[in-house]
């Protein structure tokens, strides 16, 4: 009681040292949803190749198109949520869409059909991301944004780690019934939607900005770009994203330069995820204390450290763990922290649009980086490509540091 009163006295909107119930609820929704979607991801390659006897190579072709569509959908999701003041509704539609996709997997049995279902699923993910982050930030006090996003990302990653365990447990118990995995995954996804509907408050008002009830339309949303602090953040996120090598390449580099055996290769993403899970909350707390931009930049310093290790590639097993540790720490220090930093500079009624803008910019930048890195790898080899990327990241980080210092914190 004492803590809550003190928090209220500080104008913290009901949360001082504690994480807002809405954030915990959204964390639970993400955890449950990630269990559901990672169940499918874990068994999908086996299902396609062994279960259905398909050649899933065509999937890669659609990847570029998905990325574009998904970016657009994210922008639309964030903006529509702001406009209708219905973040929960838009997020709910996104979660619902993904939930519907799981039982659809029981019905389609062709590469094209499954590709379409996955695209729909991803549309749902794009739709819900910005409104969900807006809800998290609007439910949290200004000084506790980092912590709120840290808690959410930790819960989210926890679900991602539990999903494969559940999926392979079901496969083992049912003599390889993929239908059972998809069926259970669908039920879990619906549970996520139910938790969202029941426990996430419908309208979260920004605690500090109760008075501002401006109308939100496309022009006000685009006006965000004229705001120097958001523009600076967006530019930095894009710039750093352009030199952030995709996870797939990091693991390929680890295998190639670290001599990771083929049997261990599929386990590498778990190392990143486990580190992310453990460090997400501490990184968020640190960001609240010393400043989000500083932690965001430091996170890229960790990534640069990972690049350096990969270039050096000492022939010990410790090296592989160190790279995964740095890689996971990079995510912990940047993923939720960037959202917290954006939330700092975007007014409450445009929170979804602002988050979508920066999130989309970063996603597209990373996609461009993937294409460029892949081409550079082919032409000049992995070492040169990585060295180039490391130099680029170093320069981007210095520029970002200068740009972020230039705008008032």
């Amino acid at each position: 009681m004492y803590l809550e009163e003190r928090a209220a006295a500080r104008g913290g909107g009901g949360a001082g040292r504690r994480v807002a119930p809405a954030v915990l609820a959204l964390g639970a929704v993400s955890l449950i949803t990630d269990v559901s979607s990672e169940m499918v991801t874990a068994v999908l390659p086996l299902y396609l190749v062994v279960g259905l006897g398909l050649s899933p190579l065509g999937f890669g072709v659609l990847d570029g198109i998905y990325n574009g569509v998904s970016a657009f959908v994210q922008l639309a999701g964030g903006h529509v949520a702001d406009r209708a003041r219905g973040h929960k509704a838009v997020a709910g539609v996104g979660y619902g869409l993904s939930a519907v996709c799981k039982p659809l997997l029981l019905l389609v049995h062709t590469v094209g059909g499954i590709g379409a279902v996955l695209a729909l699923d991803r549309t749902g993910k794009g739709l819900r991301t910005a409104p969900r982050d807006a809800l998290i930030s609007l439910a949290s006090p200004v000084g506790g944004q980092g912590r709120a996003f840290g808690v959410h990302r930790a819960m989210d990653t926890c679900g991602a780690l539990l999903g494969p365990v559940a999926a392979f447990g079901i496969l083992a118990g049912t003599a390889d019934s993929y239908d059972a995995v998809f069926g259970v995954s669908g039920c879990v996804a619906v549970l996520g939607v139910v938790v969202l509907v029941l426990f996430v408050p419908g309208r979260v008002r920004p605690p500090a900005e109760r008075t501002s009830v401006r109308r939100v339309d496309l022009r006000t949303a685009l006006g965000l770009l004229r705001q120097s602090r958001l523009r600076a953040l967006a530019v930095c996120a894009v710039l750093l994203g352009l030199t952030t090598v995709s996870d797939a390449f990091v693991y390929l580099l680890l295998q190639r330069r670290g001599g990771v055996g083929d049997g261990w290769f599929p386990l590498l993403p778990l190392g990143t995820a486990a580190t992310f899970l453990v460090l997400a909350v501490p990184a968020g707390l640190l960001a609240d204390r010393v400043g989000r931009r500083g932690v965001f930049l430091a996170g890229h310093g960790l990534l640069l450290g990972a690049y350096g290790l990969l270039l050096w590639a000492p022939g010990t097993v410790v090296f592989v763990y160190a790279v995964l540790l740095l890689h996971g720490a990079f995510y912990a220090a940047t993923d939720g922290v960037l959202s917290a930093a954006v939330a700092d500079v975007v007014p409450g009624e445009l929170r979804g649009s602002g988050l979508a803008l920066v999130g989309t910019g970063r996603a597209l930048a990373r996609f461009v980086c993937s294409l460029g890195f892949g081409a550079a790898w082919t032409w000049w080899g992995d070492g040169t490509a990585l060295a180039g990327c490391a130099v680029g990241l170093g320069v981007s980080a210095v520029v970002a540091g200068a740009v972020l210092r230039g705008v008032a914190a």
Partner: protein, 336 residues
């Protein structure tokens, strides 16, 4: 409300699992009219026998079994060795296996001797897709599908490895080889290779090369680590025993998973569509210089083996029910 939701959804989920368990038990029970099985030993040296992966529902699903070559629907002798993909020649076999794990499934390639005993084991980076042994039994190749890192990118690439069983040297990825097209070296970030088939000289191989949505037949040399493109729209090549023709699947429509099995004459580069009208998604096997065998899905995760004439004449005939990856002793591999 939450309790109600948990109970209802939990009930539905449990229903799915129980139904699946029931079906699994059902699938493990031999079907009426299904093949008969007998204990015994399976050896690659057994004359007049064909070794296949049995896909018929029942306790021996996915097991290597041998049947009389002259009576493929006869009693199946079981080996106890389970494989997702399999091939053999001249007393060397390769068996690609998948095992469910706690966090990830594990995939392995086992090199087998003539009595199907494991000689060596290699970890695989992805799900087994194709396997081939060279006619002499010296070289082994396999292709696996490696999936993308996260749900947000449903992305698959192939990885094809070539093993020299004599020296133990493993070329982990054909992508490390040089590819030449029209006299120029091809550098492509999106290069994928699959479906290797070997010639008798213990060096030449053929495979599928894919880049920018096009597939090519490539001829390669293991020693020189080099490949040259020969022909477009060729997947899963299979070299005839006399080394003059390639049976392959040709994509009928770009973007659709529909293939028509063809034979390409390597001297004239003439394509001949085979009599099979159904889509074939398999790396065919030559039973002799005139006959090609391939699998057609038969539902319930089973496949049937069919044969058709390599010159495009005649009608497809069913060779065997509930089988995959046929290996005829001596026929495609041995010297004739």
């Amino acid at each position: 409300m939450l309790v109600v939701a948990v109970v209802v959804l939990g009930g539905v989920a449990a229903g799915f699992v129980l139904y699946a368990v029931g079906r699994a038990q059902d699938a493990n029970r031999p079907r009426a009219g299904g093949p008969a099985f007998a204990a015994g030993t399976v050896a690659l040296t057994d004359a007049g026998r064909m070794v296949v992966r049995s896909t018929a529902p029942g306790p021996h699903r996915d097991e290597l079994v041998s049947v009389p070559a002259g009576d493929p629907d006869g009693v199946r002798t079981v080996s106890g060795v389970r494989c997702e993909r399999w091939h053999a020649a001249a007393g060397t076999g390769v068996c690609l296996q998948t095992e469910a794990g706690i966090l990830k499934p594990t995939h392995r390639a086992r090199i087998l001797d003539a009595r199907l005993r494991t000689v060596r084991t290699y970890d695989l980076a992805g799900v087994p897709s194709r396997a081939r042994v060279s006619p002499s039994g010296r070289f082994v190749a396999w292709t696996v599908f490696v999936s993308g890192e996260s749900y947000s990118s449903a992305y698959f690439t192939t990885r094809t490895s070539v093993l020299d069983t004599r020296s133990g040297k493993l070329a982990k990825n054909l992508e490390d080889f040089t590819v030449v097209r029209d006299g120029k070296r091809v550098r492509a970030a999106d290069a994928n290779f699959w479906g290797v088939t070997f010639a008798k000289d213990d060096d030449t191989f053929y495979a599928t090369f894919n880049t920018a949505r096009r597939t090519y037949l490539v001829r390669g040399s293991v020693r020189e680590r080099r490949m040259t493109t020969l022909h477009e729209n060729v997947e899963c090549p299979s070299l005839s025993p006399d080394g003059t023709r390639i049976a392959y699947k040709k994509r009928v429509m770009n973007g659709a998973s529909l293939w028509r099995e063809h034979v390409l004459d390597l001297r004239t580069m003439r394509e001949t569509p085979l009599a099979e009208r159904r889509s074939v998604d398999d790396q065919a096997v030559w039973l002799d210089n005139d006959t090609v065998a391939y699998a057609i899905p038969a539902g319930d995760r089973s496949t049937d083996l069919w044969t058709t004439r390599a010159d495009g004449s005649g009608k497809p005939r069913k060779l065997m029910t509930g089988a995959f990856n046929p290996v005829l002793r001596g026929s495609p591999a041995g010297p004739r």
